[in-house]
């Protein structure tokens, strides 16, 4: 494999990592900071993508579509937080898993009820379409570079929000002892709704951004959800930095694994068997990565006990 191709694949890995980060960021915010396992996060991603597709189809504007995605997901987030999620904060993880699993069912079939069973259309704006030439002669889609940029900006913003602002401190205090922070005069319920909506909006944004280069369909959130969980667990729950590093690790492992493992096996196997074995191992690779990380650091790379 040529060096240029390898570089390009690394870039692809980084890019897919950043896409995952967009999803994982909201999840780690909700999951780590508020102590809630939200399986329905993938549904919010889907809501964002569908809202974007619907608005893009009606208005033809990608920018409006993004705004719609943010708004719809945040709204859906607020709604479920106030009706369902807020009753779950003091429950154990099990109840949270079941309740949000139920939300997935409702969201998925509800979306199908509204939009039908066929995938929707959402395209990247023409200003961002097509490849650009990078130094070294690498042709790379502009849109993917933009996603990398957006992801990094969001990472920085979130990091500052949680670590440096008073709201961040209150959120973390609330996670440690919700009742106590309320007894000190912080309206934690409102704060949580806000944060949940923010996490949801991020998921919706991710859905819209990623939906433009993937298929916008019912159930699109579930595979990403699992990956996002893998990411935040590798990175250490509640850590924005961890989510970013974890996402990059997963992106790189997945991309490079699927490219390099078949080549590796081709050294001592017949070609089609090597492709098959290599690809099988590649699809397991991120789980192997996660197991490996947790065995050496049981609370993830940047997690606290």
């Amino acid at each position: 494999m040529s060096f240029i191709l390898l570089i390009e694949q690394v870039l692809n890995g980084v890019q897919s990592g950043v896409m995952l980060f967009l999803m994982a960021a909201g999840l780690t915010l909700i999951f780590g900071v508020m102590g809630l396992i939200n399986l329905a996060h993938g549904s919010l991603y889907m809501v964002g993508a569908f809202a974007a597709a619907a608005v893009a189809a009606a208005t033809g504007s990608f920018l409006l579509a993004l705004v719609a995605a943010l708004a719809a997901a945040a709204l859906a987030g607020c709604l479920i937080e106030m009706t369902v999620i807020r009753r779950l904060y003091d429950r154990d993880h099990l109840d949270q898993v079941l309740a949000t699993f139920a939300l997935i069912l409702i969201f998925s079939e509800g979306t199908r009820f509204l939009f039908g069973s066929f995938p929707l259309f959402l395209e990247i704006p023409s200003a961002l379409s097509g490849p650009v030439m990078l130094p070294g002669g690498i042709q790379y889609p502009l849109y993917r570079l933009v996603i990398i940029g957006v992801g990094l900006v969001i990472a920085a913003g979130l990091f500052l929000l949680i670590a440096r602002t008073r709201i961040g401190i209150q959120i973390r205090a609330g996670e440690a002892d919700r009742e106590m922070i309320a007894a000190l005069g912080v309206d934690i319920a409102k704060l949580y709704t806000l944060i949940f909506a923010l996490g949801a909006a991020l998921a919706g944004l991710a859905g819209a951004l990623v939906g433009a280069i993937q298929s916008v369909q019912v159930g699109m959130g579930e595979p990403v959800l699992i990956l996002a969980f893998v990411v935040i667990v590798i990175g250490g729950i509640g850590s924005i930095k961890g989510a970013l590093i974890g996402a990059l690790l997963v992106g790189l492992t997945d991309t490079l694994g699927s490219v390099l493992l078949p080549l590796f096996f081709a050294n001592f196997m017949e070609a089609s068997a090597a492709t098959s074995v290599g690809s099988s191992l590649a699809s397991m690779s991120i789980y192997i990565l996660m197991a490996g990380v947790l065995l050496f650091k049981p609370t993830g790379l940047f997690g606290e006990a």
């Binding site: 191709l5 039908g116 995938p119 889609p141 098959s276 690809s279």
Partner: protein, 359 residues
Amino acid sequence: EGGKVKVGMITTLSGGGAGLGIDVRDGFMLATKMAGNENLEVVVEDDQRKPEIAVQLADKMIQSEKVDVLTGIIWSNLAMAVVPAATAQGKFYLSPNAGPSALAGKGCNKLYFNVAWQNDNLHEAAGAYANDAGYKNTFMLAPNYPAGKDALTGYKRTYEGEAAGEVYTDLGQTDYAAQIAQIRASGADSVFFFLPGGMGISFLKQYANSGVDLPVVGPAFSFDQGILQAVGEAALGIKNTSQWNKDLDNEANKEFVAAFQEEYDRLPSLYASQGYDTANLLLSAMGKADVSDADAFQAALKEADFASVRGKFSFGNNQHPIQDYYVREVVKEGDVYTNKLIGPSLTDHADAYAADCKM
């Protein structure tokens, strides 16, 4: 002539892939409605695309509903789970979509008819088209599961050029940047891919945006009416292979396309056409024999004495279709993306497993 027939349709109506099942069902029900045959009764159940559920529904249909004929399954793995058990219990099974090789060769059965294609067929047609188009060095791509492997096998069976690369992706993969980079670097002159459903949409969108502009060919699954709108412009001009298209020039097809649009207010898909044909095949046999006489009913089915929307249609010795395959091109008609017939790819084509069938 012919008594009552009760049909159990097990198909995917909820969750991912529901669109395909809904089309098969709608095509099938359209045909029964048009026939108005009161002897035909249909019960429909949703398999949620889970093999275990499909097996249990089959048990239910057979044990409780006491159906005579089963049909409807979309996916090969579900078919593999249901068909052997159903035929073992003496029920007919008419496949409107899946055609796994195991059921075409050694595992063929008198009670099993495939009304769509054997799984390899559309890929074989794509390989034949690649030869005609003069492709010499194809990069091949499919998901890492049995149907994916069958796809590459099928393509290579007819394709005569070199392989620039063979890659298996994850089932359900959504990002193909890595594979597209491989394609770019491989020196291929063309790309063959089999990525059904959402996987194909993602691939095509990303491919169109990547700056790689090698010609692409694939089976109809990624270009069908149901998902073309979601791919959009990225699909324009791409050649794909199918045994049917809505502009196929025959009476039965015209009637079907018009009636389907009238009834459901959308263009029919490949799957709808297959559901429609399946029902008409069944109706034709009902006119000739009673389902309680299995031998007679089988013979009546095998005659395939119905007006297929594909034009000519007959069964081989393994009760799989012998039919023509066409090349189609994605075009835009007004606001709607759809396929236009370009020309034949394979004619009177049977599948590669028929010889193994001892029936």
